[in-house]
């Protein structure tokens, strides 16, 4: 077999495994969110379908989602509206390329521009949201998309500033190198300020409560995906929960030593730390109420950006 064919087949195999994991992870996270929210509200959550603890509920949900009618609004901008879920979904999947699952183990573990890739790819999400909001030809969708745009811009910069502190300590943009540099101590200790900024900005980037202004159901029905149903709506959810997983994995890798850990194999440590962050995000979502849009923008521009810059200055002083 020629060399390029081997490379292509190898890439297809990796992509298949990653996509299979993403699918299973999505269903697990939806089930987990329903269970966690139920426990917090003194309920039991899905229980009847499948024993124990309604684990088949997610299969039932998936079948329901696939078999629902796909309704397109009459006034929609056909192509833009139809392509939007794909454009939202693609960056979420692409980010799996840089995740360091174990030492030299992952889709492309030694990608030396990993964090640059992260910020470049995540900027596409906004276009999917814009396409959904604009293409639906619905005022709630458009307002939701506008809020999402303002919010993504306000929180992208603190997020990058927080990541830069870690990059300065590790001296590399590769997530693999950053994790390997945390063998002796986790970066959350020297970068505590940066971690707080990252945590707030990441939850805002994920559009989760208390920052889910772009889909605030009490004011905007469902924001930019109001007009979507069936599998297209499912793809927005798919992207949302996949982003939750990748952002948690990146937080664990940047600040909590990624796959480093005693006794257990590295992959298990990676998963434990990632799902700990997923649980934290769910905990925050079901505990805090939603804040207002102007408070959200004020928090981003007037608090997180200065604190992120301060963190960079402090880190620089210590390195010099």
């Amino acid at each position: 077999m020629p060399e390029w064919l081997v490379a292509v087949l190898w890439a297809i195999l990796k992509a298949t495994i990653a996509l299979a994991f993403i699918g299973v992870n999505f269903m697990f996270l939806v089930w987990l969110e329903r269970k966690v929210s139920a426990r917090m509200q003194y309920r039991v959550g899905p229980y009847r379908v499948g024993k124990p603890h309604g684990w088949l509920q997610l299969i039932a949900d998936a079948i329901k989602m696939f078999s629902k009618e796909d309704v397109m609004p009459a006034a929609a901008d056909r192509w833009v509206w139809a392509a939007a879920p794909v454009v939202v979904f693609a960056p979420a999947v692409l980010l799996f390329v840089i995740l360091p699952v174990g030492p030299n183990f992952g889709v492309q573990p030694d990608f030396n521009l990993g964090l640059l890739f992260l910020s470049a790819v995540s900027s596409f999400t906004l276009f999917g949201i814009f396409m959904a909001g604009w293409g639906s030809n619905n005022k709630y969708s458009l307002i939701g998309a506008m809020r999402a745009a303002a919010q993504l811009m306000a929180y992208e910069i603190p997020l990058v500033l927080a990541v830069l502190g870690v990059v300065m300590l590790a001296g590399s943009l590769s997530l693999q190198d950053i994790v390997a540099a945390q063998r002796t101590y986790w970066y959350v200790f020297p970068q505590f300020l940066g971690f707080i900024v990252f945590l707030i900005a990441a939850i805002a980037e994920l559009n989760r409560t208390p920052f889910d202004l772009s889909e605030a159901e009490s004011e905007l029905v469902a924001g930019y995906f109001t007009e979507y149903s069936g599998i297209r709506w499912g793809m927005f959810m798919f992207a949302e929960y996949t982003n939750l997983f990748t952002m948690s994995a990146i937080a664990a890798s940047l600040f909590f030593g990624g796959w480093n850990g005693p006794i257990l194999p590295p992959v298990v440590w990676f998963l434990i730390k990632t799902y700990a962050f997923v649980l934290l995000a769910m905990w925050i979502r079901w505990t805090l109420p939603r804040i207002r849009i102007d408070q959200l923008l004020d928090l981003g521009w007037k608090f997180l950006v200065p604190v992120g810059l301060l963190n960079l200055v402090i880190t620089g002083l210590f390195l010099v």
Binding site: V80, L116, S119, S123, W134, M146, A150, M153, I157, L297
Partner: protein, 222 residues
Amino acid sequence: MTGAAVIFAILAAVVLLGAWRVVTSEQIAHSALFLGLTFVGMAGLFVLLQAPTFALLHVLVYVGAILTVVVFAIMLSDPEELRGAGDLPPGERLRRRLLSPYYGWIPVVVAGVLVAVVLASLAAAQLPRVPLGEPVADDLRAIGRDMFTRYALPFEVASLALLAALIGAIGLTRRNTSEERGRTGRDTAAGAGTGTPDGAGRNGSAAAGRAGTAGAAGEVSR
């Protein structure tokens, strides 16, 4: 034809088709999306030249910052003003367009001069020819070092220009809000230095959003 040439042809077609549709689309939202397609195609060309750093920086600056601001401006605009020329036949539409100064012959002349300048300077610069598939200088460390030593002055000048644009944008939006507030008979320009009081509502938050947009562009492209 080699594999690289085939990929180059596909990417070039994507870039040219996208650029063509940017200027011919009836709806400005479609123009913005095709502009995004063009940028992605150009990033692909950088990857083909084995310069992934430039590809990612290109996406980050052009898609992540500039196009984001364009999209935001479209969403803030009045949809009535964004309507296309309507149901006129293409020949008639073209004739009317060319006759009107602001949407017709002035942009054509300006674009022609710009293209001539770019082509003339390209011919004068005598850029080295790099064959497809050969690695070019693409090291983030080297780029960063050059930026702060050899090109420190141009870098600072560019930052100042962006800062001026940012302050200008804030100044424009500020003036509009105080005028509107004066028109409705409320206290004029009271919130100019202290930030908008909560009751001021939509105008204040829209201005903050717009100022924020310019800030994002400035920060990211630095």
